[in-house]
C-alpha cells in the first residue's frame, strides 16, 4: 500500500511536469527555435514588464495606461505604414525574478522592441536579458544609473537619479540656508538620488543634515523629523507613499521646513491636503498636468476621457516612450512587420541617437545620446 501511494505520487508528478511543457510548448509549436518567434507577427510587438500588483502597482498601472493610450492613438492614425502596434505589459511585482520570467514569455510570444521595465531592479534584470538578445528597450521610469550604463541597446525617457539629485542640490543651495535630507535605505531609487545630491552638495561646499528610514519596517517618522527640525528645507528623494507620511509627521511635530520631493512624488496630492499638512510641499517633475502646452493638454484630455483620472508622470513617461519608439521607427523607415528584434534594435538605435531626432511629448522635448540618457527640462511643481 505504501508502494501504491508512491506510484500515485509518481504518476501525479509526472502529469504535472508534462503539463508544464505542454503549457509552454503549445504556444509556439509552429515556431521552432528561438529567433524565429517574430515570423508570425502581424503587428509590431512592444513588450514591457512592470508592477501591476503589490506595493508599487500604481506605477506599473500608470505606465501601462499611458502606453496603451499612445498605442491606440498610433493605431487609430493608421499605424506605421499601415502596420499596427501591439503593447503588452507583464506583471513583475517590481522583482527581478518575475521580470526575467516576463521577458522570456514576451520574447517567445514575438516581442520585437520593448519599454524595459517600470522599476529599477526589474529593469536591470530585463536589460540583462535584452542585452543577450540585442533587443531595444526604452524604459519609461527606471531611473538608476546602472539600468542603461554600459548597455548599448538601453535608453530611457525619465531623468536619471543623478540628474535629479544634482538639480535639487543646486536649487536648494541657491534658495535655502539650512538643508536636510531624508532618504530610504531600502530603496535603490532613493539611494541613487541621495548619492548624487550628496556629491553635488559637496561640490558646492554646502552642509546638510541627514536622516534615513527603511520603508519595509518603519513608517513612523517622528524621529527623523526631530533630527531635522531646525532645517528650513527638507529634500525627500522617495516615492509619494512615504513622502506623504513624512509631510504629515513634519506638521504634527511642528516643523516649519519646506519639503521638496522628486519625480516619484506625484500622486501625493491624493494623500495630503492643507488641513493635514501646513508645510509648503513641491517636487521636481518634467510633467505638469495643468500645463497649457498643446501636446500635454491633448494627452491629459484623452487620458482623462479613457481612464477617468488625471495622468501622473509615470503615465506620461509611458506615453512618451511609445512615441519615441514609433517616431524612431518611422524616421528609420522600418517596413517589415516580421523584423527580428536584433535588426530592429540596430535600426532604432541609429535613428534615435541621430542629431536631428527629437520628440516633443507629454514630458517636454527630449533628445537622446548614445549612452541612452534622455535630455529634457525639469521644473519644480507646487503641491501645497
Amino acid at each position: 500500500m505504501k508502494t501504491f501511494k508512491k506510484v500515485v505520487a509518481a504518476a501525479m508528478s509526472l502529469a504535472l511536469i508534462g503539463s508544464c511543457f505542454a503549457g509552454c510548448g503549445a504556444k509556439n509549436a509552429k515556431s521552432g527555435a528561438a529567433g524565429e518567434y517574430t515570423a508570425n507577427n502581424t503587428e509590431y510587438f512592444i513588450g514591457s514588464t512592470g508592477p501591476l500588483t503589490g506595493d508599487a502597482a500604481s506605477y506599473g498601472i500608470s505606465v501601462n495606461n499611458g502606453a496603451m493610450l499612445a498605442v491606440e492613438e498610433i493605431n487609430a492614425a493608421g499605424g506605421l505604414n499601415g502596420v499596427k502596434f501591439k503593447f503588452e505589459m507583464k506583471d513583475d511585482k517590481a522583482t527581478a525574478q518575475d521580470a526575467t520570467t516576463g521577458y522570456n514569455s514576451l520574447y517567445e510570444a514575438g516581442m520585437q522592441i520593448s519599454l524595459g521595465s517600470v522599476t529599477t531592479d526589474s529593469c536591470d534584470s530585463f536589460a540583462t536579458s535584452a542585452v543577450e538578445d540585442n533587443l531595444f528597450y526604452i524604459t519609461p521610469s527606471a531611473s538608476a544609473a546602472k539600468v542603461i550604463d554600459g548597455r548599448d541597446n538601453g535608453f530611457r525617457v525619465c531623468f536619471g537619479d543623478p540628474d535629479q539629485g544634482t538639480l535639487a542640490a543646486d536649487y536648494i543651495v541657491e534658495t535655502y540656508k539650512n538643508a536636510g535630507v531624508i532618504y530610504n535605505t531600502s530603496d535603490s531609487y532613493s539611494m541613487g538620488v541621495y548619492e548624487a545630491f550628496k556629491a553635488e552638495m559637496g561640490v558646492k561646499g554646502a552642509t546638510f543634515t541627514e536622516a534615513t528610514f527603511d520603508a519595509e519596517n518603519n513608517k513612523d517618522f517622528s524621529t527623523q523629523i526631530a533630527t531635522l527640525k531646525d532645517c528650513d528645507v527638507i529634500f525627500l528623494p522617495m516615492y509619494y507613499t512615504e513622502g506623504s507620511l513624512i509631510c504629515k509627521a513634519a506638521t504634527a511635530k511642528g516643523c516649519k521646513a519646506d519639503l521638496i520631493g522628486t519625480d516619484g512624488f506625484d500622486g501625493i496630492a491624493d494623500l495630503i491636503d492643507s488641513k493635514t499638512v501646513s508645510n509648503k510641499v513641491k517636487y521636481i517633475t518634467p510633467f505638469d498636468a495643468e500645463s497649457k502646452n498643446e501636446t500635454v493638454s491633448k494627452f491629459v484630455e484623452s487620458y482623462k476621457a479613457k481612464y477617468g483620472k488625471t495622468p501622473d508622470q509615470f503615465a506620461a513617461d509611458g506615453y512618451d516612450a511609445i512615441y519615441a519608439i514609433y517616431n524612431a521607427m518611422k524616421a528609420a523607415g522600418v517596413n517589415d512587420v516580421t523584423i527580428a528584434p536584433s535588426d530592429l534594435c540596430e535600426t532604432v538605435k541609429a535613428s534615435i541617437t541621430a542629431s536631428d531626432f527629437s520628440l516633443t511629448g507629454a514630458t517636454g522635448t527630449m533628445t537622446w545620446d548614445a549612452t541612452g540618457a534622455c535630455h529634457k527640462e525639469l521644473q519644480f511643481k507646487d503641491v501645497l
Binding site: D91, K146, T185
Partner: protein, 381 residues
C-alpha cells in the same frame, strides 16, 4: 556480500521514487532541448523548480523531521545567494569555465549559509516551538537588513550577478539529485532515526543518550547548506540579487510547500514544490491587479485546511475513514497498524497536563501518525 544485496535493495521502485521524479524532469527536458523544442521560459521554470525543491526538501528536514518550525529559511537562501554570487563575480575573472565557477560558488555559498545555520542552531538548543520560530524569523530579517546596507553587496541596488545561461536547469536538477541522495541517506540511517526520535519525544531521546545538541545543530547546518546552494542557483538565474526577494513571505511560501506536501514526506515536498512553482508561473498574468491577492488567499486557505485536517483531534476518525491507503488496502487491513485502535487492551488516552511552560517542556508531538520514509530494510528483516 551484504553490500551488493543492499545496493540492489536501494534500486527498488519505492526507494528511488524521488530520483525518478527529478530524473524524469531532467531527461524529458534534455530530450526536448535537443529537439529544439524547449522554450526559454520552460528552461527558466525548470531551474526555478530546481531550487524550490531544494528549499522545500531542506526545510522539511527541519520542520518535518526535527519538528522545529523555522520561519527564516529564506534567510539562509539570502546568505547563499549574496555570498556565493559575490565570490562567483570575482571567480569569473580567474576561471574561464562557467560551470566550474558555479560549482565552486555553490560550495562557498552553501558553506557560509551552513555557518549561519550553526549560529541560528545555537538558540535552538535552548528554545523550542514558538520561541524558536520567532528567533528564526528574526534571524531572516536581520540577515536581510545587514545585506541591504552593505555597499560591497550593492546595498539597496542589489548585487549584480552574472547569469549562467539557459542551461542552468541542467545543473540545478543534477544538484537536486545529488542533494536528494545525501538527504535521503541521512534520513534513512541511524542518524535520521535519532532526529525523528528527538521530534517524537525529546525527553525520551535524551534519556536514551541521543546527543540532542549535536543532532539539532546538525539538522540546522545541513538544511542551511542546501538552502544556501539554492540561493546560488537563484543568483545565477536572476540578476540583480536583491534583499527584498528573501522576505518573510518567501519563507512562508516554502513552508506552504512543505505543509502541502506533508511534513516529513520528501516526495510530497518535491511534488508540491514543483506544483507551487508552476502555479506561480501560470498565475503571473492570469490574475491582474489586486486579484493577485487571490494567490495568497489560496495559500492561506491551503495552510489552514491542510493543517486542521491533519491535526485536529476531532477529525481523527474522519482522517482514518478517508485515508487513501486504507481505502486501497482494505484486504490487508489486518496488517495495518491503524486497525489496532480497536484493541480492547489499549490504554485510553492518559489525561496529561498541558505543559506549563513551552520553553522547557513542550513536546512538539504530532497528533497524526507520521509517514516518514521508511528505512530500507537491512536485508533479512
Amino acid at each position: 556480500m551484504n553490500y551488493f544485496k543492499n545496493i540492489k535493495n536501494a534500486f527498488k521502485f519505492k526507494n528511488c521514487i524521488n530520483y525518478i521524479i527529478v530524473g524524469a524532469m531532467l531527461i524529458i527536458s534534455l530530450v526536448m532541448s535537443s529537439m529544439g523544442e524547449l522554450p526559454r521560459s520552460s528552461a527558466d521554470l525548470l531551474a526555478q523548480m530546481g531550487y524550490s525543491i531544494l528549499l522545500a526538501v531542506s526545510l522539511n528536514l527541519v520542520v518535518g523531521f526535527l519538528g522545529e518550525l523555522s520561519l527564516g529559511h529564506a534567510g539562509f537562501m539570502c546568505v547563499g545567494a549574496y555570498i556565493g554570487c559575490y565570490f562567483a563575480n570575482s571567480l569569473y575573472e580567474v576561471i574561464d569555465s562557467k560551470l566550474l565557477v558555479l560549482i565552486i560558488s555553490m560550495l562557498i555559498g552553501g558553506s557560509v549559509a551552513a555557518v549561519f545555520g550553526l549560529i541560528i542552531g545555537l538558540p535552538a538548543l535552548r528554545l523550542k516551538g514558538d520561541y524558536l520560530a520567532i528567533v528564526t524569523l528574526a534571524f531572516g530579517e536581520i540577515v536581510r537588513t545587514i545585506f541591504k546596507n552593505q555597499p560591497a553587496f550593492g546595498a539597496a541596488l542589489g548585487l549584480s550577478t552574472k547569469r549562467f545561461g539557459s542551461d542552468l536547469y541542467i545543473v540545478a536538477l543534477i544538484v537536486v539529485l545529488i542533494s536528494l541522495f545525501l538527504i535521503q541517506n541521512i534520513i534513512r540511517s541511524k542518524h535520521g532515526r535519532a532526529i525523528t526520535a528527538i521530534r517524537d519525544n525529546e525527553i525520551a531521546a535524551k534519556a536514551m543518550g541521543i546527543n540532542i545538541t549535536y543532532y539539532k545543530l546538525f539538522v540546522f547546518v545541513f538544511a542551511a547548506f542546501f538552502a544556501g546552494v539554492a540561493g546560488v542557483i537563484f543568483g545565477s538565474k536572476v540578476t540583480p540579487v536583491t534583499y527584498s526577494f528573501f522576505s518573510f513571505n518567501y519563507s512562508i511560501e516554502i513552508l506552504v510547500m512543505v505543509v502541502l506536501g506533508g511534513m516529513g514526506n520528501i516526495t510530497g515536498s518535491i511534488i508540491s514544490a514543483v506544483f507551487i512553482t508552476y502555479l506561480n508561473f501560470q498565475l503571473q498574468d492570469k490574475l491582474p491587479g489586486e486579484l493577485a491577492a487571490l494567490k495568497y488567499l489560496v495559500y492561506a486557505i491551503i495552510l489552514i485546511l491542510v493543517v486542521i485536517y491533519n491535526n485536529a483531534p476531532k477529525l481523527a476518525a474522519l482522517r482514518e475513514k478517508l485515508s487513501i491507503s486504507n481505502a486501497i488496502s482494505s484486504k490487508k487491513k489486518s496488517k495495518n497498524p491503524a486497525a489496532q485502535h480497536d484493541d480492547k487492551n489499549r490504554w485510553d488516552v492518559v489525561p496529561t497536563k498541558i505543559p506549563m511552560d513551552e520553553i522547557v517542556s513542550t513536546d512538539l508531538k504530532q497528533e497524526k501518525a507520521y509517514t516518514p520514509d521508511k528505512p530500507e530494510k537491512g536485508g533479512t528483516e
